[in-house]
Structure formats: structure tokens, C-alpha cells
């Protein structure tokens, strides 16, 4: 494949330069936010802190770890992610299992009924009114119930389940195993990579969402950290409130605290879990994307 000649060489150099530029664009803004969050607040607002902290300080993180509001928002996010992922995964995988069984009566009707919802939805306001009627507004369950099942993830899991030869469930049935048993102790363990990938996708979705918190909760006790962060970024009252709480909590550092570095620290803090699971996600998600796009 290696070509010689000056044109080919120039092309390679330009290509590598373009790629390096893209890597810079995707990585650098996050890097400089980490740097900013580790800089002293007042000093940061003078500008010029991009590549390395100028005045190193952990004050912003110290505040994050002791602030009650932020702790509660983090707790809500962790709870919804753990419970939402576990429930969403089990329900979606269980339906995926049933839906690939040729024995299932009404299978094609069910399939159409499901796929239809991928293309049509009621919209934001009707959904809000429904949740209001169901009593889901300002209720923690609003994070869990609407995401119990996902057609797109079902299609991905089905593709993996289909690779298991039909003789496996057949012989298990002959041995007297029930359907739940076959699903739980044969299909799930035999599809670990895809199950892992889908659960990471569901988890990232739960962790990152702020729209539902904004729409369906007005009590601060139920709001997630992402929504808290969004308001710190786009509402001056919120960031000023955070800064004054920080000043009250840490009188020794009160003159050097800034809302900006606390916001940056929050951004970094909520992204750490993503970066921790990212290597695992990356291993599987390319496959997941492909399956989803081919079948869907």
C-alpha cells in the first residue's frame, strides 16, 4: 500500500496534521477545564490559564465534597443511574429474549407495535401532561419508569441473542427449564459483551440527561447533578448562590473563591465516572452501533 512520490508524502503530512488538529479540538477544551478547576479561583479569572495551573489550589474540589446541595444532587444522579440501568436492562433484555422466540404468538404484531414508537412520539407537552396525571411530577420514579424499555437497545440485544443456536433453549426446555430460567441463566451469561455495552449506554444516558430533571422536577431535593450544573452554567443567580455558599463554608479562602472554577470543578467531577467506564464502552460500543444501524 505504501506509495512513493512527493505528492503522496505531502498528502500524508497534511492528513496527519488535520488529525492532530481534530485531536486537539476534542481533547484540549476538557484539559484546560481540568487545569482551570485546579487553579485558585480569583487568579483564574485574570485569564491565561490553559495548559497548566498557575496557582495550584484544591479549594473548588474541597467545596464540592462538603456542599450539601451538590452532594444531594450527586446522590440523585447515582441512584437514578444505578436503579434506572438495572431495571431498564433487565426489562429490555427479557423482552428481547421473548421477541426472538418463534413460538411467541403475536410476535409480528408486537414488533410493529414497538417499532412504530421509534418513529412517532407524542411530544414534550403531552408527555408532561401524562406524567402529571400519573403523579410522576416531583416523583423520583419519573427517572426510572419512562426508561424501563427501549426498542433500539432491544434490537441490539436481539442481534446478539440470535447468535445462540436454537438447540440451546430447546434442550433446556426438554430438561424442564422454564423460560425465565433459560433467559436468566443461559442467554444473559452467553451475551455478556453486548449486555455490558448496552448497560453502559443506558448508564451514560441516565447519568448525562438533564432535560427530564428540568421538565419533571421542581423540588431541588429531586434534581440531578447535571441539571444543577446546567443552571450553574446558564443562570447567574445559581452560580452566585454557589459562590456565596462556598465563601460561607470556607472563610479562610473567601477572598480567592470564584464561581467559575467551582463550575469547572463540577464539570470535571461529573465527567470522571464517564472517563472511568469509557475504555470498557469503547471496546464494545463500535459493535453496538453497527448492529443497531444495520438492523434499525
Amino acid at each position: 500500500m505504501r506509495e512513493k512520490g512527493i505528492g503522496a508524502r505531502i498528502f500524508q503530512i497534511v492528513n496527519v496534521a488535520v488529525m492532530l488538529f481534530l485531536v486537539f479540538v476534542t481533547v484540549f477544551p476538557f484539559w484546560s477545564s481540568i487545569v482551570g478547576s485546579l487553579n485558585e479561583g480569583l487568579d483564574y479569572t485574570r485569564g491565561g490559564v490553559y495548559f497548566w495551573p498557575r496557582k495550584f489550589s484544591l479549594t473548588s474540589y474541597k467545596f464540592l465534597l462538603q456542599d450539601e446541595q451538590i452532594f444531594r444532587a450527586m446522590l440523585i444522579s447515582v441512584l437514578r443511574t444505578v436503579l434506572g440501568t438495572a431495571s431498564g436492562l433487565i426489562v429490555t433484555a427479557c423482552v428481547s429474549y421473548a421477541m426472538i422466540q418463534k413460538k411467541l404468538r403475536g410476535r409480528s404484531f408486537y414488533a410493529v407495535f414497538m417499532i412504530f414508537t421509534m418513529y412517532f412520539s407524542g411530544g414534550v407537552i403531552p408527555t408532561y401532561l401524562l406524567y402529571q396525571n400519573l403523579g410522576l411530577i416531583d416523583n423520583f420514579l419519573v427517572y426510572i419508569l419512562p426508561s424501563l424499555f427501549n426498542v433500539y437497545y432491544m434490537i441490539i440485544i436481539q442481534a446478539s441473542f440470535r447468535e445462540i443456536p436454537e438447540a440451546v433453549p430447546e434442550s433446556a426446555r426438554l430438561d424442564g427449564a422454564g423460560e425465565y430460567r433459560i433467559f436468566w441463566s443461559l442467554y444473559l451469561p452467553m451475551s455478556v459483551p453486548v449486555i455490558a455495552a448496552v448497560s453502559l449506554f443506558i448508564a451514560v444516558g441516565h447519568w448525562n440527561s438533564y432535560f427530564d430533571s428540568m421538565m419533571y422536577t421542581s423540588e431541588i431535593e429531586l434534581q440531578t447533578i447535571q441539571y444543577y450544573l446546567q443552571r450553574m452554567i446558564s443562570q447567574a443567580t445559581q452560580s452566585m448562590g454557589v459562590a456565596s455558599r462556598a465563601q460561607a463554608a470556607m472563610p479562610a479562602e473567601r477572598t480567592t473563591i470564584s464561581a467559575q472554577t467551582i463550575t469547572l470543578a463540577t464539570m470535571v467531577f461529573v465527567t470522571v465516572p464517564i472517563l472511568v467506564v469509557y475504555p470498557f464502552v469503547q471496546k464494545y460500543f463500535v459493535k453496538g452501533v453497527m448492529v443497531g444501524s444495520v438492523k434499525g
Binding site: G123, Y180, T263
Partner: protein, 315 residues
């Protein structure tokens, strides 16, 4: 031997009750989710009927007064609706012109790299922002563009490209570009995956043959690679056209501020505001319904056009 065992068991166990039990268990897995779908997906669809009502929270769907097309007529004379449509189209047409071809070009360029390790590195780096939340990524963009602490202003000023600092986020005229570019950067790596896979699926002997015939790098891309991945490209294009009224509400809301509002209000944020902040449920639903209808019409039209021209389509 094994077969014999299975046969014996078969005669023993596949009687009626066993088959019944299997069917019952399978149905019990699916039916709760069908009920769930009715409640969480189909009932909201029925609730869109309030677009034809003057919906009243106390009276509910049954008691509110029907007003026919009143809200849709109001739409056409609502000057802020027209502005909002303009913004939505503006951001998405920019996205279609730049954001749609970018991942294709990126995948093609990635395929031309000679070092596999470097390719990996680029892929790993460009996938990461896809997994950031919009609250975080919006914060990164605002920080990067900030006139007081942002890198870009400092860089442009020091290299003499600008005379004084620019407050990008406060400039309404910059918003469409910022919105388009930020979602481009966030999704570039991820959107390219499907094209990378399509390119990897092209029969290598085609490249071989083209090379032997003396085709250069760009000719191979133009006459071999692109035609081979055109099916994928067409399907992605149909989806993009159908989504031309979609702007990620999480993205827009985090980057929106009072200064850029004239250009940053899109259909999605508008529906949210008239519905949730002004409590005008019926009008907001009418706007939402209008958007869905346009999306379905566009999807069908794009699909038909593509089928006529290239013989490829979604359905």
C-alpha cells in the same frame, strides 16, 4: 447416542401442558411491556389532541373545549414562530451542509492513515466528547470561547487575527455557527463509526484493480470507495433531512443566553417555553405536532426521492 436421548425426552415432555406453559411464560415477558408502551408512548400520542383544544388543567382532556385549527392558524401569524422556524432551519441547514459530510470525509481520511496506532489514538480521542453530557460540553464550549478566560480569544489576539476580544456567546450572529460546530465536534468521531465500518466492508480487490488501472488516491476514493459506501450515506442523509426541525434541546438551552436569544430560540426550546413557562399547553402542543408532521413528510419525501434517483431507501 445423544440424538436418541433427545428423542426419548421429546416424546415425554412436549405434551400440551408444556407448550402452554412456555407460551404463557413468553407472553408474560412481553405483555407488561406492551401495556407500558400503551401508557408511555401511545397515550401521549392521544394527548396531542389537545392541540385542537383550549386545554384546561382542571377540566382535563375530556372537559376542555374543542377549538379546531385555531392554534394552527395562530401559528402562521405568530411572528416569533416564524423567527424560531428560521433559527431551526438555519442551524440544521448549516449542519446538513457541513456537519453531514464531515464524518464521511473524516472516515475517508482516517482510512488513508498508514499507522494503525495513530489511527487508534485519533479514534479514541474523537469518540470521547460523544459521551460527555451537554451540560458539561456546553460548559466546555462557553469556557473555550469566553472573552475573559477562554483560549480562543487569547490565541486570536496574540496572533493578531483579531484586534480586540470578541464575546462570541453574546453575539446572536455567531450562535448558529457555534451550535453547528459544537455538535460537529461532539459527534464527529461517533458519526464516523458507521462510515468507517462501511469502508472496511468494501472488497479490497476493487481497490487493487483500480490501482493497477493507474488510479490515484483521490480517483480511488471518488470512483471506488464513495460508490461502495453510498448506500450508508443515503440512509444517513434521509435521517438527517427528516431531522431538520430537530435541535437538541439540551444543547441549545445550555448555550442560550439573553443576549443571543434572537438567534438561539429553536422550535424545541420554544415549545418548552410556551408550554412549561407560559403554561400555554395547547399552543405548545400544536407547535410540537406541526414539527412531527413536517418530520414525517420530509422522511417520506426524502425516501421517495432517494429511491427514484439511486434505487436505495429506508423503506
Amino acid at each position: 447416542m445423544l440424538r436418541g436421548v433427545i428423542l426419548v425426552k421429546k416424546t415425554e415432555k412436549t405434551g400440551r401442558p408444556a407448550r402452554w406453559k412456555t407460551q404463557l411464560e413468553l407472553q408474560s415477558m412481553v405483555i407488561p411491556v406492551i401495556v407500558w408502551l400503551v401508557i408511555f408512548c401511545y397515550v401521549p400520542m392521544a394527548f396531542t389532541a389537545i392541540a385542537f383544544q383550549d386545554y384546561n388543567l382542571i377540566e382535563g382532556l375530556a372537559g376542555s373545549q374543542w377549538v379546531g385549527l385555531k392554534h394552527f392558524r395562530a401559528l402562521l401569524t405568530d411572528s416569533s414562530f416564524l423567527r424560531v422556524m428560521g433559527n431551526t432551519f438555519g442551524i440544521n441547514l448549516l449542519g446538513l451542509a457541513v456537519g453531514f459530510p464531515a464524518p464521511i470525509v473524516f472516515a475517508l481520511l482516517l482510512n488513508e492513515l498508514t499507522s494503525r496506532r495513530f489511527t487508534r489514538l485519533v479514534q479514541t480521542a474523537t469518540y470521547i466528547p460523544y459521551f460527555f453530557s451537554w451540560a458539561v460540553f456546553g460548559g466546555l464550549v462557553i469556557n473555550f470561547l469566553s472573552p475573559s478566560t477562554g483560549f480562543l480569544n487569547d490565541f486570536l489576539l496574540r496572533t493578531g487575527l483579531i484586534g480586540e476580544k470578541i464575546n462570541f456567546m453574546a453575539n446572536p450572529d455567531a450562535f448558529w455557527g457555534i451550535a453547528m460546530l459544537s455538535s460537529l465536534v461532539k459527534n464527529l468521531g461517533y458519526s464516523a463509526i458507521i462510515y468507517i465500518a462501511a469502508i472496511a466492508g468494501v472488497d479490497p480487490s476493487l481497490f487493487e484493480a483500480a490501482r493497477i488501472d493507474g488510479a490515484g488516491r483521490f480517483k480511488v476514493i471518488w470512483y471506488v470507495t464513495l460508490p461502495c459506501i453510498s448506500g450508508t450515506v443515503v440512509i444517513m442523509l434521509i435521517f438527517s433531512i427528516a431531522g431538520i426541525l430537530n435541535t437538541g434541546i439540551e444543547q441549545i438551552l445550555v448555550m442560550q443566553n439573553i443576549m443571543n436569544l434572537a438567534r438561539s430560540e429553536t422550535l424545541d426550546t420554544y415549545v418548552y417555553k410556551i408550554g412549561m413557562q407560559q403554561m400555554n399547553f395547547s399552543y405548545a402542543t400544536a407547535v410540537g405536532l406541526f414539527k412531527s408532521v413536517v418530520a414525517v413528510v420530509l422522511l417520506t419525501a426524502a425516501n421517495m426521492t432517494s429511491k427514484k434517483i439511486s434505487g436505495k431507501g429506508l423503506f
